[in-house]
C-alpha cells in the first residue's frame, strides 16, 4: 500500500517534470487520486521535486480543496453565500445533515462522503448550488438534496447526478453540466456574433506598439474590479528589459455574486483566447496561462478542447498568422479554492506552486511577475474587449458607454429580483434602470461589486454604473426592502475572515474583530460607541493592509454604517451612563458554580 502510494506519487511528480513550480498540479493530482495529500505523500513529493517537506505542507494547508487528512471519495460542498442562503441554502444544509447523519466539516463513518461549506461557487443566479466533487448541482431544495444523497450512496458517481443539461455549451459533451447561462441581455462587445480570428489578423497587420496605442485610444480599463488602464499596463510590460514575458488571464472569479466570467468561458472562450494571443503579440510574450478557479473544474476539459481548436485554427501555435517569429500558446493552471488567489500577485504565487500569498510591491507584475518575468494579468472580460477593439476599431469601442468608462460591462445580477443572470449593458447606465430591467424595482439595498464593493440604498439608485461612480467588477446583489443589512455585512465579514491569507496583521486579526462586534450588535449587546469603534477598526484595516483584500474587506461594515445608519440605530442599546458594557450576564455565569456548591451566591440574595 505504502510502496504503491510512493510509486504513484513519484509517477505524478515525474509527469510534472519533477518541477517544484508545478506543485499545484502535483498536489491536485495526488488529492484527486487519494482523497488527500497525506504526510507520506508530502515526504515523497518533497524528495521528488527537491524541496522541503514543510514547503509542501505549506501549500497543501493553504487551499480549501486540498487536505492532508483523508476526505470522503465524494465531497459535497454546499455554497453558503448570502444569495444562496436567501434562496434556502440553510434548509438544503439541514437536509444534507439529516440524510448523511453528519455535520459540516465531517465525513461519514464509512469514509465515503464528506460534507462542507464553501463560499460563492459562481452560481448565484441558480442558487442554492453545490459542488459534488467537480460536478455542479444547482437550484437545490430539500427534495433534490435528499435525492443527491440517496443517489450518491447508491453509485458514488457524481456525474450521474446530472439528469438535465443546461443551455448552450453547458450541454457540450465535454461539459455536460446542468448549469444555465442565463444570458438576459446580449450587448455589442461580448455576446454579439464574432468573426473568429479577425481581431488577431488586424492586430498582426500592425506593429505591437500600434496595437497598444489602439488599446489606449479605446481607453480600455480592466474589467476585474480595479479598473487599471489596460494599455498602460501592457506598455510597462513591453518596456521591461527581459525577453521572457507572460500573459495571464485571471479566471479566478471569486468575488461572491460574480459569475459573468463563467458564462464567457462557456460561450465565448475563443474570444478570450484570441484576446490573449493579441496581448502576447503586443507585449512580446510567447506563453500564456489561464488561471481557472477550482470551482470551475467542470469547464476544464472543454477549455482544453477549445485551446486545441484554436491551435487548429491558427490562433495559437508557431508563426501565428504567417508572422515569422510570433509564437504563442496557453496552458491552464487550476486553482484550489482560495478567493485571495484572484488578487493578481497571489495568483502568480499560486501559478509558481506556492501558497496563495500576495507578493510585496514593487516590483509590480508588469516589471517582475510570473517567475520574475514581466507579466500582464487581465480579467477574462478584458481580453474579450481587446479582441473586439482590434476587430471593430478603437473608435467604435470608445463610442459605447460613458466618456470616462467606454465600452460595455457584464453584470452578474442575483438576489431578490425576477430575472437573475448576466446582462451586458453600456457603462453609464443608472442603477435604477438596471433594477427595472432585472425586475428588482422595489429593492431596499444593492451590493455593488460584491462584498469588497459597497452596499447602496435607494437614495443612490440614480447613480450611474461606471468607474467614477458605482464601480463594479460585475456583481450586483439585490436585496428586498425587508433585508437586514447588518446581518448581510456580518455574513460578508465571515467570508473575509475565512479567505484572508493571514499574511498581514490588520487583515488577519482586524476582520475577526469586526465580525465579533457585529455579532455582539446583532445579539442585542451593541452600544452607541460601537459605531465609532467599528469605523476606526475598519479604517485601520483599510489603510494598513498589504493587499486589496484587506484594503476592501471593511467595506461591508463601513458602507452600511454610512448608508444605513438607521439599521444600526435600531439594534443599539442606549448608552449606559456608568460606562460599563453588558458583555455577559453574571447571574448566568455564576449558575454553574452555584449548582456545584449547592447554594445561591450572596450576590443574588433577592
Amino acid at each position: 500500500m505504502s510502496e504503491n502510494l510512493q510509486t504513484s506519487v513519484r509517477e505524478i511528480c515525474r509527469a510534472c517534470n519533477n518541477d517544484r513550480a508545478r506543485m499545484m498540479d502535483i498536489v491536485l493530482a495526488v488529492q484527486a487520486k487519494y482523497g488527500c495529500v497525506s504526510s507520506e505523500a508530502m515526504d515523497t513529493i518533497a524528495k521528488a521535486v527537491s524541496t522541503h517537506r514543510v514547503e509542501v505542507e505549506s501549500v497543501v494547508s493553504f487551499y480549501a480543496f486540498l487536505s492532508s487528512r483523508p476526505k470522503g471519495k465524494v465531497v459535497i460542498r454546499l455554497c453558503n453565500d448570502v444569495i444562496d442562503r436567501m434562496h434556502g441554502a440553510d434548509r438544503v444544509a439541514e437536509t444534507f445533515r439529516q440524510e448523511l447523519g453528519i455535520g459540516f466539516g465531517e465525513t461519514t463513518p464509512d469514509g465515503q462522503i464528506s460534507l462542507e461549506y464553501t463560499p460563492c461557487i459562481g452560481m448565484c443566479d441558480q442558487a442554492p448550488a453545490a459542488l459534488v466533487n467537480d460536478v455542479v448541482v444547482t437550484e437545490l431544495h430539500r427534495s433534490t438534496a435528499q435525492h443527491i444523497v440517496r443517489e450518491i450512496n447508491r453509485h458514488m458517481d457524481p456525474r450521474r447526478l446530472v439528469t438535465r443539461l443546461g443551455d448552450g455549451n453547458n450541454a457540450h459533451q465535454l461539459v455536460q453540466a446542468m448549469v444555465n447561462n442565463n444570458i438576459r441581455k446580449a450587448g455589442p462587445v461580448i455576446f454579439a456574433p464574432s468573426d473568429l480570428g479577425a481581431g488577431l489578423a488586424k492586430a498582426l497587420a500592425m506593429s505591437p506598439a500600434e496595437v497598444i496605442r489602439d488599446i489606449k485610444t479605446a481607453r480600455l480599463r480592466g474589467r476585474g474590479g480595479a479598473g487599471f488602464p489596460t494599455g498602460m499596463k501592457w506598455e510597462f510590460a513591453r518596456g521591461a528589459n527581459d525577453q521572457n514575458r507572460y500573459v495571464v488571464c485571471n479566471a479566478d472569479e471569486g468575488e461572491p455574486g460574480t459569475f459573468k466570467d463563467r458564462v464567457i468561458l462557456t460561450e465565448r472562450p475563443e474570444l478570450l483566447i484570441e484576446g490573449m494571443a493579441i496581448a502576447g503579440y503586443a507585449i512580446g510574450a510567447s506563453e500564456g496561462i489561464i488561471y481557472l478557479r477550482g470551482e470551475y473544474a467542470y469547464l476544464r476539459a472543454f477549455l482544453e478542447h477549445m485551446l486545441n481548436e484554436c491551435r487548429n485554427w491558427g490562433i495559437l501555435g508557431q508563426n501565428i498568422g504567417g508572422k515569422k517569429g510570433f509564437h504563442f500558446d496557453i496552458r491552464i493552471q487550476m486553482g484550489a479554492g482560495a478567493y485571495v488567489c484572484g488578487e493578481e500577485t497571489a495568483l502568480l504565487s499560486s501559478c509558481e506552486g506556492l501558497r496563495g500569498d500576495p507578493k510585496n510591491r514593487p516590483p509590480f507584475p508588469a516589471q517582475k511577475g510570473y517567475q520574475s518575468h514581466p507579466t500582464i494579468v487581465n480579467n477574462v472580460e478584458t481580453f474579450c474587449c481587446v479582441t473586439r477593439i482590434m476587430d471593430k476599431g478603437a473608435g467604435a469601442f470608445a463610442q459605447l458607454g460613458s466618456s470616462g468608462s467606454p465600452g460595455t460591462k457584464l453584470l452578474s445580477v442575483s438576489g431578490d429580483c425576477r430575472s437573475q443572470g448576466v446582462y451586458e449593458v453600456e457603462f453609464g447606465i443608472k442603477l435604477r434602470d438596471v433594477l427595472k430591467m432585472v425586475g428588482g424595482e422595489d429593492a431596499g439595498a444593492v451590493q455593488v461589486g460584491g462584498p469588497s464593493g459597497r452596499m447602496v440604498g435607494p437614495d443612490e439608485f440614480d447613480r450611474p454604473i461606471c468607474y467614477d461612480h458605482l464601480a463594479t467588477g460585475g456583481a450586483l446583489m439585490v436585496f428586498g426592502p425587508e433585508c437586514n443589512v447588518v446581518d448581510i455585512a456580518r455574513q460578508f465579514m465571515e467570508f473575509f475572515v475565512e479567505e484572508s491569507c493571514g499574511y498581514c496583521t490588520p487583515c488577519r486579526v482586524g476582520n475577526v474583530l469586526l465580525k465579533e462586534r457585529l455579532e455582539q450588535i446583532l445579539a442585542g449587546r451593541g452600544e452607541r460607541e460601537d459605531l465609532a469603534y467599528l469605523q476606526e477598526l475598519g479604517e485601520t484595516i483599510k489603510t494598513m493592509s498589504r493587499c486589496g483584500l484587506g484594503q476592501t474587506s471593511a467595506n461591508p461594515v463601513l458602507s452600511t454604517i454610512q448608508s444605513f445608519p438607521a439599521a444600526y440605530e435600531a439594534l443599539l442599546k442606549d448608552t449606559r451612563t456608568d460606562g460599563f458594557r453588558p458583555t455577559f450576564d453574571i447571574g448566568a455565569a455564576l449558575g454553574e458554580a452555584q449548582a456545584i456548591v449547592g447554594r445561591r451566591s450572596v450576590h443574588f440574595a433577592d
Binding site: P362, Y503, L513
Partner: protein, 236 residues
C-alpha cells in the same frame, strides 16, 4: 553609480542611496520608524504593517518600499501613531501574551513597542486562541501562544542557516509556524546556535534553561524605549 537622492521625512530632508528602503534610509539618518517583522540582514517581509508610513500620501510599509527621488514621507504623525497602536493591540489580543511571567519580558520587541506606544491594555477583546507548546527539542522550545507570525525564524533558517526548519502552514487566523518534520521541532536539524532561534522578537522561540537570566533593570528595554538607539547612534 551610487548617487544619493533626497527624500523628505516629516518635513526633514535626508539622503538615501538607490536600493535603500525608506526604513533603512530613515534609520541611517537617525529617524526611527517603528517595526516588528523587519530584522537587519533578512529579506523584508512586510507582514506586521507596524512600519506603515505615508509615501506621497499613500500608505506603504517602509521596510519594503524603496526610496525614490523626491518622495515625501509622513512617519511621526498622530494618525499614523494611532493606526500603529491599533496594529500592536491586535497582535496582543490575537495570541496569549502573559508578559508578567514570560521569559522574554524586558527583552521582547512586542512588549517594548507597547510601552513605547503607551498601551496599558488592549481595547480589543481577547480572542483566546488554543495554541500548542512544543518542547520536544533538547535545547529549544516553541510556544505558539506568543508567536506573532513575523516570519523572522522562517527567513533566518532559510537564508542565514541554510536549513528551512520553519515555514507557515494554514491560512487566515489559523496560520501558524510549522517545522520541517512530521510534527515536532525535536525531529528537525535545528541547533540551539542557529540564527533562527535568536531571530524571534518575542518569547515564542526560546533557548531552554536560560530564562530570567538577566535581572530586572539590566534588560534590553528597561530604561530607554525601543528605537532610542537609532536616534542616539546618529547624534554621536
Amino acid at each position: 553609480m551610487s548617487e544619493t537622492m533626497t527624500i523628505t521625512i516629516d518635513g526633514r530632508e535626508i539622503q538615501a542611496r538607490p536600493g535603500q528602503t525608506i526604513l533603512e534610509a530613515a534609520e541611517a539618518a537617525g529617524v526611527y520608524i517603528p517595526r516588528l517583522c523587519y530584522m537587519k540582514g533578512l529579506t523584508p517581509h512586510g507582514s506586521c504593517r507596524v512600519c506603515t508610513v505615508l509615501v506621497n500620501g499613500r500608505p506603504q510599509s517602509a521596510c519594503t518600499q524603496p526610496a525614490t527621488p523626491g518622495a515625501v514621507i509622513e512617519n511621526d504623525t498622530e494618525r499614523l501613531l494611532a493606526l500603529r497602536r491599533n496594529i500592536i493591540e491586535m497582535l496582543f489580543v490575537e495570541g496569549n501574551h502573559f508578559c508578567m511571567f514570560c521569559e522574554k519580558s524586558g527583552n521582547c520587541e512586542l512588549q517594548a513597542l507597547a510601552y513605547r506606544f503607551g498601551i496599558p491594555a488592549p481595547m480589543y477583546p481577547y480572542l483566546w486562541p488554543k495554541r500548542e507548546v512544543d518542547a520536544s527539542h533538547p535545547d529549544v522550545m516553541v510556544d505558539h501562544n506568543r508567536c506573532i507570525l513575523c516570519a523572522r525564524c522562517v527567513r533566518a533558517s532559510r537564508d542565514l542557516d541554510g536549513k528551512n526548519v520553519f515555514q507557515f502552514v494554514n491560512r487566515n487566523g489559523h496560520k501558524r509556524v510549522a517545522v520541517n518534520a512530521e510534527a515536532r521541532l525535536g525531529d528537525t536539524d535545528l541547533k540551539v546556535t542557529d540564527k533562527a532561534v535568536a531571530a524571534c522578537p518575542v518569547g515564542a522561540l526560546l533557548k531552554k534553561r536560560v530564562g530570567y537570566a538577566v535581572p530586572v533593570g539590566k534588560r534590553l528595554y528597561d530604561h530607554e524605549p525601543i528605537g532610542s538607539d537609532i536616534a542616539a547612534a546618529h547624534k554621536k
